[in-house]
Symmetry: C2
Subunit: 234 residues, 2 copies
DNA sequence: TCTTGTTGGATTGTCGACAATCTGTTTGTC
DNA sequence: GACAAACAGATTGTCGACAATCCAACAAGA
């Protein structure tokens, strides 16, 4: 008998599709931070009743990209400079841990997948598809987590990634100019293939820092705009 | 004007109360791992309609203590030895990070709160209230996270804590004998008051390991029972 | 006997309507 | 005109009923 692995069949509940739609809208910045989600309007647009929509929203609230205030509404989370700093500093720690766990698990299939994902990033970069560029870069980064073989760590990283993706998307959107940017991941990939774990950990940390500077600049801009808006309100 | 800090008013949605009730039932082990939650029955018992109950369940699914299979049901998560190992090893890393962040933030109010929580543990221990003992011990442990001033880290720890609380409760429940256990936190508290951060980090790691052994023994018991049950099913 | 269809009951997913709550505006009073 | 009470509209929270799906038991055919 031919050996054939079937993947699990897709979730076919409206709820799951709504979650995917909303998440995508938020993570790509189509829904802006602080924006209120009107249940009636969205449910009409999606041709769905409010029940599955509300359940989907609860999921995203727990996922950390929406916040809900009883009887007031559900909103896209606000993004502050501190949030970005917090997320990044935790990401550093987790990265180091993930590399440590994944290191002995590396093998041919790991390297193959590494190349595959790296290629995807390069392709998105060439195509000037910034949204996809962010997505693929994060997926490349996520490989060590998938191979770390620690389900709680993976889950944690996925939550964190949601926010990072959102932050990057907002950043890109703010300077509404596609940034080709040559490939920053060459060294990262090479080190993950090498034999010096410490070096890989160190690079992951530094690489993060370089991206970080840009994001922080954006965050500071946000802060400024927010305080000005508060001033205007007086 | 007198300075007075009001705490936020309680959530008054049924949903929030249901979440609290269910969470408590799960974390204290009243709902067993793998058990199915029948929506109709629970909603009738709580005198509530299925809508807020289902929303509450979605939250707990995202919180990681329930799992949902479309059209099949929502279940309390299964607990495997690997889950416990994974949670603990991540907890070590996070603890180290939290201590590092919290260290410069320590001050009188930190020490006071530390003592307060330590006292709560001792009291629960004296009263042989194992459920409360677990709760208070985790709260003591959580102090460094609250003072680390990193919202993402805190959030992450709270998710992790849910599981740890559940694991401990199951463990206690399995050997249905209240364990007085003398105070294990004396050293931990002392080190957090001291001036040697490294020592505190080291102790946190070792302290975790000692509790860990017990939990692992329990987990292995679980595995064994599970495999036997699987055998019987053939 | 094994496999494959069918059927009934139970349970989850979804819907539309109603109740509770909030917010901004209007009205009334001083 | 300033302030508070009452109202109106919009929005969220909750409910009961219906539709879709699953599962176990049973029946039919090879």
């Amino acid at each position: 008998m031919a050996k054939l692995d079937f993947s699990p069949i897709a979730d076919t509940t409206r709820r799951a599709e709504i979650v995917a739609l909303l998440r995508r809208a938020i993570l790509t910045g189509q829904l802006e931070p602080g924006q209120k989600l009107n249940e009636l309007r969205i449910s009409e647009q999606m041709r769905v009743s409010r029940a599955p929509l509300r359940e989907a929203m609860r999921e995203l609230v727990q996922e950390g990209i929406l916040t809900s205030i009883p009887y007031a509404g559900t909103f896209v989370i606000d993004v502050t400079a501190k949030d970005i700093i917090d997320a990044y500093s935790l990401n550093k720690v987790l990265d180091e841990f993930a590399i440590e766990l994944a290191w002995p698990q590396r093998g041919q299939s790991f390297f193959d997948e590494l190349d595959r994902r790296h290629e995807a990033v390069k392709q998105a970069t060439r195509a000037l598809d910034t949204t996809r560029q962010i997505e693929t870069a994060l997926q490349l980064h996520g490989l060590i987590y998938e191979w770390a073989d620690n389900s709680v760590l993976l889950e944690t990283w996925q939550r964190l990634t949601s926010r990072l993706q959102m932050y990057f998307a907002l950043h890109q959107r703010a300077r509404n100019e596609p940034v080709p940017a040559e490939d920053l991941h060459e060294t990262y990939v090479a080190l993950l293939k090498g034999s010096d774990m410490r070096a890989a950990q160190r690079h992951a940390r530094e690489h993060i820092d370089s991206d970080f500077e840009e994001l922080l600049a954006y965050a500071r801009g946000l802060e400024e705009r927010a305080s000005k808006a508060a001033e205007r309100r007086r």
